[in-house]
């Protein structure tokens, strides 16, 4: 087998040095009653060529572009990935390297992550960003735990317009310690109702997502005004970081922690993972932050270099008193996101964000023009909610057969919103795709 270099001769020589009679003999220290009685019942090993055939056929049973037009967002976004980015990730010095504990021979990874941290901090208007969390959902859960640690309060307020699956992860993470989660309702225009917050003074954090699950841009400044000086941390969450090429950054609006999903930045959707949990905060909280941090320093000859730093926050040193249990994070995805942000540049980011917004606006107005109701009036970025008339699910299914996925039905997530669908338009859809969709929906 091509990954196992040992020849019969090698094995014989090595067994002799070790003093074992056979490969089985190497396991003689394992008590008999712990040994497997039967062999591994696994399918016969495949050649590379058989594997190619198998996987091609399995992958064929998936609905992806260009064959399908998928108008889904909701935490996973279809964006064009430049060939240059995919190519650079193929450099196995990045992908087959370990966590950069031995800094002298890991400067590639370390500088790439330092740059990622800097780009994320700039994007979100924050002082410092970490080297990544697993995804946007776990990042949000860890942000709330961090706020709880920093304030020593036990209650958090979470907007009902944060991604429903993120809120479920938050509940799972906060459940064992019995922390209380209060849900903030929504206004008619589709933004979070903050009125209840004026009365809450025992909150460790207020968490709001923008753009929210309905694609609507929240009034982050209003949240910032409420939390400033109140001893409550403002956690700004997001699922679509591209929005910050166009919108005011969470940091500029008073966020203490800004965290979310970075998959949009050059990372394939891959049925929901791996992604990258972006995580950033104000500098006064840096020692409470979970995750790894790369810092700049000098070597013995005064040459600049990078190292992992502030490691005393982490599990391998603090163990049960660590800021988190996280060890392996999403390093290669963070590197990918950095490569993508570097390729876009500030100018490109702005243009691409505007294009996403405009294509989405185009579809929204075309649907409104065709007589469909857009129930929420607040401005959106690249996703929006449309109301389809009763009996629509037959049309939805017909469109699936025509290889069009016309949005995400909201009923499973918000039962009171049956008949509403969340549609997403990114730069991957042409005007003719949008016109075709409207035609299909009318006809």
């Amino acid at each position: 087998m091509r990954y196992l270099p040992h020849t019969g001769e090698d094995i014989a020589e090595m067994l002799q040095v070790v003093g074992a009679a056979s490969l089985d003999d190497l396991f003689s220290t394992i008590p008999e009653d712990c040994r497997r009685k039967t062999g591994l019942n696994l399918p016969e090993s495949l050649t590379e060529w058989e594997l190619n055939d198998l996987m091609a056929s399995v992958a064929g049973a998936m609905a992806v572009s260009p064959e399908y037009k998928v108008f889904l967002g909701a935490g996973s976004y279809e964006h064009h990935i430049p060939a240059s980015v995919s190519y650079l990730l193929g450099r196995s010095e990045f992908s087959t390297a370990y966590t950069p504990y031995q800094a002298e021979i890991s400067q590639g990874t370390l500088q790439a992550i330092f740059e990622y941290q800097s780009l994320v901090a700039a994007l979100l208007g924050m002082d410092v960003a970490n080297a990544s969390m697993y995804d946007g959902a776990s990042a949000l859960a860890e942000a709330l735990l961090m706020a709880i640690r920093a304030t020593r309060l036990k209650k958090v307020a979470v907007s009902s317009l944060i991604h429903p699956l993120y809120r479920r992860a938050v509940s799972t993470y906060l459940a064992p310690s019995g922390y209380e989660i209060v849900e903030l309702p929504r206004l008619n225009d589709g933004r979070t109702d903050l009125r209840g917050l004026e009365k809450m003074d025992d909150l460790a954090a207020v968490a709001v997502q923008s753009p929210n699950f309905f694609g609507i841009i929240e009034d982050l400044a209003a949240v910032g005004n409420l939390t400033r000086g109140a001893g409550t941390l403002f956690v700004a969450s997001f699922t679509e970081p591209l929005a910050y090429g166009l919108l005011k950054s969470p940091g500029s609006q008073g966020a203490d922690i800004a965290c979310g999903e970075g998959q949009s930045f050059g990372i394939p959707q891959s049925f929901g993972g791996p992604g990258v949990g972006m995580f950033s905060c104000r500098k006064e909280y840096v020692r409470s932050m979970p995750g790894r941090l790369v810092g700049k320093t000098l070597d013995r000859n005064g040459k600049p270099g990078f190292v992992l730093t502030l490691a005393t926050r982490e599990q391998h040193i603090r163990r049960e008193r660590a800021t988190s249990n996280i060890c392996t994070n999403s390093g290669l995805c963070a590197t990918t996101a950095a490569m993508y942000m570097a390729s876009l540049g500030g100018t490109g980011l702005r243009e691409l964000a505007q294009l996403n917004h405009d294509k989405s606006e185009y579809l929204k107005r075309a649907l409104a023009g065709a007589g469909f109701k857009v129930p929420f009036s607040a401005p959106t970025f690249n996703e929006f909610v449309v109301e389809f008339p009763s009996g629509f699910d037959a049309i939805y299914r017909r469109l699936l057969d025509e290889k069009i996925v016309a949005g995400l039905p909201l009923a499973p997530y918000y039962p009171e919103l049956a008949g509403r669908y969340l549609l997403c338009v990114t730069e991957t859809k042409g005007k003719n795709d949008l016109d075709a969709l409207v035609q299909r929906l009318i006809g």
Binding site: F27, P100, T109, R168, L246, A342, T347, Q354
Partner: protein, 484 residues
């Protein structure tokens, strides 16, 4: 004299991104604008971040140069203990990049997601077979995430029995993620010492196991490289007080086809796909940490779960006792596809993988034991642990030795872990290293140890050959500079 693996060569300096570029450059092909411009409300619009503007050439050169400063498994041997730095097969990358997988949205209607659901369903069963456990979740995104999942399962189990437990038994050889994960669930770790053989004694566990203890977290083989030979008795003791046994499966590379965790009393086990199952480490992830459980704990697994009816796969949330969700979607599917490809490429040869991993480690142990101090002189599993005791008189530490090893062209082993050995040097070669590569490694270590005696300055100042020498970590921690 044979040439050292490590040598010098021309690499280029490269500044940080922010010091490069020119305003107006762009490194991507912007898609065609075929719709009107719709200005955003002024109160919402911001200036956007001040990213540098770079051309595609700027970006490709930048990262190509950075990559040349790195050492990966593809560069050379990476004997990090408990990390299982085995070769990452390139065909796995090809499969994960297939458009049907890479381009798939997680919330597609189930009828249009049958390919990925099939892989997930089958991978669960393959991992169950390999570990001898009954049910699997692929949702955790890393080992520590799996440990948290396991602790939440413990918590849910005890809650379902109306029992409040506040403690968990953690051996002195445990990885830091173990007590950290336990603490996230409100458990206080009860630390127990390993015995003179470097394993846990049943008596030690019996002394601390009580009705306030949720159970025990073991790593098997443990971080000293030894099979926990008393595990069956320990499991009995823990089970007798209705506790559960959690196994950290980071070291599974030693046991495939040899030991079935389900048979030795393990209730919950996590695996690291980025260790045992060959998916790349990526400089710090992404990984995946599937959790395998015994049948009676299946109801607590995270949702949604992948089920099969006839020939069709579907997702189900109908598990009322589930601990909930730890990841927005289903976990790191891209990593699962790589691991699946690996398992399908090896089949029952996975047993050979474990056998050769253990052979390689024992070979290194035997060849280095006269040179480095071996605290436990007996057969090991897939990794062996030395200490720097023999070099103390020369005032040379583990750190000095491994820094010099880099000049010879090898990534250092794991150092200063486990904590129970002074100056621990944990070496795990994995099965993908050939005998001649290992012989070079052994010779390099011997040369370093000789230099420690003859000319320790060579070690104190090492490494000499990489782009940078030892870095000032003190200053980096005192005055952190974390962004540009």
């Amino acid at each position: 004299m044979k040439e050292s693996a490590g040598t010098t060569g021309l690499i280029l300096n490269e500044p940080v991104l922010f010091e490069k570029g020119r305003k107006g450059r762009c490194g991507i092909s912007l898609p065609r604008r075929d719709v009107a411009f719709f200005p955003l409300d002024e109160t919402l619009a911001g200036p956007g971040p001040n990213f540098p503007d770079l051309s595609e050439v700027d970006v490709v050169r930048h990262y190509t140069r950075l990559s040349s400063w790195n050492f990966g498994v593809d560069t050379g041997m990476y004997p990090l203990g408990s990390c299982t730095m085995k070769y990452n097969p390139k065909t796995n990358e090809k499969q994960a990049a297939l458009p049907g997988f890479a381009g798939a949205h997680p919330l597609l209607p189930v009828a249009l997601s049958q390919g990925v659901l099939k892989i997930m369903y089958e991978l669960e069963r393959l991992l169950a077979e390999i570990t001898g456990m009954d049910a699997v979740t692929l949702q955790p995104a890393a080992g520590a995430h799996g440990e948290l999942t396991g602790m939440l399962v413990f918590h849910a189990y005890h809650k379902s029995k109306g029992s409040r437990r506040s403690k968990i038994i953690v051996p002195d050889t445990a990885h830091g993620t173990n007590p950290a994960s336990a603490a996230l669930c409100g458990y206080s770790p009860v630390n127990v010492k390993s015995n003179e053989r470097g394993v846990l004694s049943a008596e030690t566990i019996a002394e601390v196991m009580d009705e306030q203890t949720a159970g025990i977290m073991v790593t098997n083989p443990n971080t000293l490289g030894f099979f926990e030979e008393n595990i069956r008795k320990i499991a009995e003791i823990v089970h007798a007080k209705d506790g559960l046994v959690y196994a950290d499966g980071a070291n599974m590379n030693a046991l495939m086809g040899i030991v079935s965790s389900g048979d030795i009393g393990v209730d919950v086990l996590h695996l690291n796909l980025h260790k045992t199952f060959s998916t790349p480490h990526g400089g710090g992830g992404p990984g995946a940490g599937p959790v395998c459980v015994a049948k009676h704990l299946e109801p607590f697994l995270p949702v949604p779960r992948v089920l099969k009816k006839g020939e069709k796969y579907f997702l189900s949330e109908d598990f009322p006792q589930s601990i909930g969700k730890l990841h927005a979607f289903y976990g790191n599917v891209g990593i699962m596809i790589r691991a699946y490809s690996y398992i399908m490429s090896l089949g029952a040869e996975l047993k050979k993988v474990s056998q050769l991993a253990v052979l390689n480690a024992n070979y290194i142990k035997e060849r280095l034991k006269g040179i480095l101090h071996l605290p436990y002189d007996r057969p090991c599993m897939h990794e062996c642990v030395f200490s720097d005791k023999n070099q103390a008189a020369q005032k040379v530490t583990t750190l000095d030795m491994v820094k010099r090893l880099m000049d010879y062209g090898f990534h250092p082993p794991t150092i200063y872990f486990p904590l129970v050995v002074h100056g621990a040097i944990m070496i795990e070669p994995t099965e993908t290293e050939s005998k001649e590569e290992i012989d070079l490694f052994i010779q390099a270590f011997k040369d370093v140890v000789k230099e420690a005696g003859d000319d320790p300055e060579k070690l104190y100042g090492a490494p000499w050959r990489p782009k940078v020498t030892r870095l000032d970590e003190t200053e980096a921690a005192r005055h952190p500079c974390l962004t540009y």
